[in-house]
Amino acid sequence: MISIEVKNLSVFYGSFQALKNINIKIERQKISALIGPSGCGKTTFLRCLNRMNDLIDEARVVGEVFIDGLNIYEEKVDLLELRRRVGMVFQRPNPFPLSIEDNILYGLKVHRINDPKIMEERLIKSLEAVQLWPQLKNQLRKNALTLSLEQQQRLCLARALAVEPEILLMDEPCSALDPIATARIEELMFELKKKYTIVIVTHNMQQAARVSDFTGYFLLGELIEFGETHQIFTAPADKRTEDYITGRYG
């Protein structure tokens, strides 16, 4: 089943075109990885899917992005609800300088979910989902900035999960982490894909090969190729993809 369908998407920063006519269909409850050299537009693409590019004054988006059949670039779209449904985890862990509990409950408060029973339940559920609950259940009032980087990144993931999204966007979520922490986050992603559609940007091709079901290769703002990870890594259709994954790029 298709969760996200992107049609003829282009993005301009001023007069610079960062994405050129992207077309892609992203499967529900699968992990799709986006790879490509620095500056090719992976982050820009990801930020189109929850309209975070709206925050950048000079960014202009042309084209259509359908999520469950609804074009999110239509006028009447409820942006706040869109961003609840499409959660995002950033490259550097960015917990708020609040307590662990307040970080998790933030999304609930923002969406006016005030029932103490639901709040308690979501707090536990989302911390459990990222395997932080056993470690942190007795220090929920502690400032989130005192956690290790890996814990912070898990917390950010839990914060996104707390509002019960359908899609998770991850922009190089492991780039600030060591290899062991990275491996653990990857394991977590396998767990999460049972419930969520995951789109992950990564610089690390092994990571893409390990975790993803589908892989897309971006180059200079173009989507060169998108297909099953297995096929992309063993028999890429495009010469440029092959050059990149065999390390001949550049």
Binding site: R83, M88, F96, P97, Y106, G107, V110, C156, V163
Partner: protein, 285 residues
């Protein structure tokens, strides 16, 4: 290597000396104020200074209560006007305005901070005093008028430091919040203001200090009467005005009484500062 280490040491020593001399100058000033002001307070009793209403220093009446109240009223009034305006302005300029507007307004705010207080006082006398007199009654020279002018005078301090502390926050806080579906205003209220709290409180303390300490503008517009005000439209004299108005001609006990005024001013500022610091600590935990 040796030479490098020695140079480090020398620089350290140099910086230490500068730091110490700055601190010791402050300490000396404080000691001077207290040695000049305390004896007379002991002689006549603290109660007389703090709680009696009559200020006729040449006849031995040293009641500073009207001035203490005057200072507190005018400062409180200035905060009531300056804090909401300053915070609202800082939030608007950092979160909602376009870059163009911000780049235009920020230098203007800094310019505002550089205007000498006598100019504010003059504007107060020429424009605000008659305006208050005609529209609200009373002599025009009043707590109310002084509060407005002082509120405007502390605006640049509150604005620019609050703006700096909001701008210093990593953009990732804002992005993280918006990405969860928060509105701009929720982001400001629930993430950015708490995160920038210490800087904002620092701006309020500095604004407070400026309001308590301001002298020239207050002398020009507050009316300087040594009686207790009955309403905010009555004139008052502040502690700082009291010193400035009389220091030109005093001698003997009268002179010491002005130092006693300084002692009380000093203590009030210490108390206000401590209170502000404590609230910020309480809010942090």
């Amino acid at each position: 290597m040796r030479g490098k280490e020695n140079r480090e040491k020398l620089i350290q020593l140099f910086l230490l000396t500068i730091a110490l001399s700055a601190i010791s100058i402050l300490a000396l000033i404080s000691i001077f104020i207290f040695t000049e002001g305390l004896p007379i307070m002991f002689r006549h009793g603290f109660k007389k200074f703090l709680f009696s209403l009559d200020w006729y220093p040449s006849e031995g009446y040293f009641g500073l209560l009207p001035m203490i109240i005057g200072s507190l009223l005018v400062t409180a009034g200035a905060m009531v006007i300056g804090v909401p305006l300053g915070l609202a302005g800082a939030i608007y300029l950092t979160q909602f305005s376009s870059k163009k507007v911000r780049n235009l307004v920020k230098p203007m705010i800094e310019l505002l901070a550089g205007i000498p207080s006598v100019v504010y006082g003059f504007i107060g006398v020429v424009i605000l005093v008659p305006f208050v007199r005609e529209n609200f009654g009373g002599p025009g020279f009043s707590v109310f008028t002084a509060s407005i002018i002082l509120g405007i005078m502390i605006l640049p301090t509150i604005l620019s430091i609050s703006i700096d502390s909001l701008m210093a926050l990593p953009p990732s806080y804002r992005e993280g919040s918006i990405a969860l579906g928060a509105t701009q205003w929720q982001t400001v209220r629930m993430v950015l203001l708490p995160a920038a709290r210490s800087g904002i409180i620092a701006s309020l303390i500095l604004g407070l200090g400026r309001a308590v300490g301001e002298t020239m503008a207050v002398i020009m517009i507050a009316g300087n009467a040594t009686a207790l005000p009955r309403s905010i439209l009555d004139p008052v004299r502040t502690l700082t005005s009291n010193i400035a108005l009389e220091m030109g001609y005093v001698s003997g006990e009268h002179r010491q009484a002005l130092f006693a005024t300084g002692v009380i001013l000093f203590i009030i500022i210490m108390i206000l500062n401590t209170m502000a610091n404590l609230t910020s600590k309480r809010m942090a935990s």
